[in-house]
């Protein structure tokens, strides 16, 4: 006897349910039978009329397990056709990641570290910053984490670059049309709030775990949000009077975009790039679950094998990497702001 039998009886749906009245439909009923007492449940314990509870009363109602199974089957059914489209589109990402990983590791450390210092100098123009960069890489190399660090860095460079490549134009499109903005904002909200592990699940089904693009896509989806949002915001915040002046002197839309809106939105766009890089770093650690190489692998080892020292040291390495990435991009932002008084 299930709680909701009365529902189907009173609606006259017993026949549709396809079993006769009082059929022993669940283990609980069986137990109730054997112990000789009727399954009389107090109001306090009334279950919610969920799929499973209704299934107890009427076997024509599917169990909730059927729903998740159905989702899975549905996904598996479209998987092949989806793969035909998505696979070639994302293949360049795999190549880029593989190449970047190869280059960053193949170049010997005594070239790589100076090159990274040079990049820090070009972007930030600060001796102190270059010193910090050198110190961090030397320290990580000293504890034999050099290769892991380079792998992490390679993935971040590639993914952040792609985020900017796509994020800025999307942000521009959003700033130009309220409709695009209205459709994009819920998508961005979803990407930002979904726990990163959740993206990984469909991606694992879609691509094989050995393909770098699997974690590449996960990182990009997670990290692209700030650069899109801040590009949109930055362009919308450009002084209305200046835009009016540009119109009054007959600028074309294109001239306005490249001559006024983007230059004036650049501080905001750069703040977005900074955020995007930091979020790529966060995600690259999580993505080690799906075979992303780098410092995240060490963290994972620390957890799996309870190697406390490895976990702590690699955690420290990630923090140091975060600090220099943040400092260098902030220094770039600072420079843009000072070049552009007002």
């Amino acid at each position: 006897m299930a709680t909701y039998d009365f529902l189907f009886d009173s609606l006259g749906l017993r026949g549709w349910c396809g079993d006769d009245q009082g059929g022993l439909s669940s283990m609980a009923d069986l137990l109730g039978e054997t112990s000789g007492q009727d399954a009389d449940i107090s109001a306090w314990d009334t279950p919610f009329p969920s799929l499973d509870a209704l299934h107890d009363a009427c076997s024509a109602i599917p169990q909730s397990r059927a729903l998740t199974l159905g989702l899975e089957r549905g996904f598996l059914d479209i998987k092949d056709s989806l793969k035909v489209v998505v696979d070639p589109l994302t293949q360049p990402l795999s190549w880029a990641l593989n190449d970047a990983l190869w280059v960053m590791q193949a170049v010997p450390w005594w070239i790589m570290i100076p090159v990274l210092m040079l990049i820090a100098w070009v972007v930030g123009r600060s001796i102190k910053l270059v010193g910090l960069v050198a110190a961090v890489f030397c320290l990580l190399a000293f504890v034999d984490y050099y290769d892991y660090t380079m792998q992490t860095l390679a993935i971040i460079f590639v993914c952040a670059f792609i985020c900017v490549l796509f994020g800025v134009p999307i942000g521009i499109a959003m700033s130009r049309s309220d409709r695009v903005q209205r459709t994009m904002i819920p998508i961005l909200d979803m990407l930002q709030t979904l726990p990163p592990f959740v993206y990984l699940i469909p991606l694992i089904f879609l691509f094989s775990v050995t393909e770098p693009k699997l974690y590449g896509i996960a990182i990009i989806l997670y990290a692209i949000v700030p650069v899109v949002r801040l590009t949109d915001l930055g362009i919308r915040l450009v002084d209305k009077d200046v835009i009016e002046a540009a119109d009054a002197y007959g600028m074309t839309k294109r001239q306005k975009l490249f001559g006024v809106q983007i230059p004036l939105a650049l501080p905001n766009i750069m703040a977005g790039v900074n955020q995007t890089i930091m979020m790529s770093l966060a995600m690259v650690v999580i993505a080690s679950l799906v075979s992303a190489p780098g410092l995240g692998v060490l963290v994972l080892r620390g957890i799996r094998n309870l190697e406390l020292g490895v976990g702590l040291l690699s955690g420290l390495g990630i923090v140091l990497l975060a600090v220099i990435l943040d400092r260098v991009t902030k220094a770039a932002l600072e420079r843009i702001n000072s070049q552009q008084p007002g």
């Binding site: 009077d241 002046a245 119109d247 009054a248 002197y249 007959g250 001559g259 230059p263 008084p341 007002g342």
Partner: protein, 360 residues
Amino acid sequence: MSIDNNPKISVRNLYKIFGDNPQAALERVKEGISKADLLTETNHVLGLNDINVDMPTGKTTVIMGLSGSGKSTLIRHLNRLIEPTAGEVWIDDENILEYNEKQLRSLRQHRMSMVFQKFALLPHRTVLENAGLAPSISGESRKQYKDEATKWLDRVGLEGQGNQYPVQLSGGMQQRVGIARALTSNSDIMLMDEAFSALDPLIRTDMQNLLIDLQNELQKTVIFITHDLDEALKLADHLVMLKDGCVVQQGEPQEILLRPNDPYIEDFVADINRARVLRVRSVMEKTVGAPGNVAGDVDHEDTLETVIALSEGDTTKRYRVTRDGVQVGVLDMRTLVRALVPQGGSSEDPRLPELAGSDA
């Protein structure tokens, strides 16, 4: 200085209504609904109501009115930064509302320039690059426009500041850049929306004088917006008074001062120093006949203040009025004194609507 030459810009039956369904609201407006009623009944804002104005070539037309009267809305119709709900705007005998996008851009690039209340300079470009905005938009390189831009920067008093950024300049200097930017475009028409309102009084007077000098030199068609009557009277050849989106009176400034046709205008006019603004020609008795017993000669463009100083306050004197040395009229000091008092009972509150037209 009557307007007998062809108007450069003619605005005809121009209406602008802000809201979701301006065409429906337009019907109501044509039936004569007031701005306030339109807002409460239909939630539409009446921006401009049946504007007809001719703006003379080579002269300064000043559009004046209180805040919210529609001045900015009107001036933005002249380069179609705002599209009208109905009406026509003729420039050089072409209706610019029939222009396509390309023609409109060319109009804005070559035939019109604009100066803004908040300067609206591009903060990421140098002063020189800002001044050369118009030529740079039409594709000239910095090297090509440099001489022209420098020439106008020098003319407005910014020698050697070309490499500064706008934030490094004071407000007055920034607006000079704004004016240089307008002049570098070499357009005939200059639109100025409260161009001097954000400046402090002394700088403001400087800028007014600069504009007057430039006008004497260049004779552009200037459309100047202000809510300050002193400024309007100083600059205007043609004065247009706006109220709630309607033109209440337009014409020669002296004429409006002496014969305001609306309490709203009397109110404006009441507070100004009439002796400094009114000129002999507007109050004299026009005659070429023998002036009789006169105390001396005054020029027809002299202000009444000058004449009062000359007469040392003696109201019995008479003066012969001359233009280029030839007599054009006679000025009695008593007439002069009478002209100093605003006509039409403005000692009572002229804003009271029942007084409207009582002095006509």
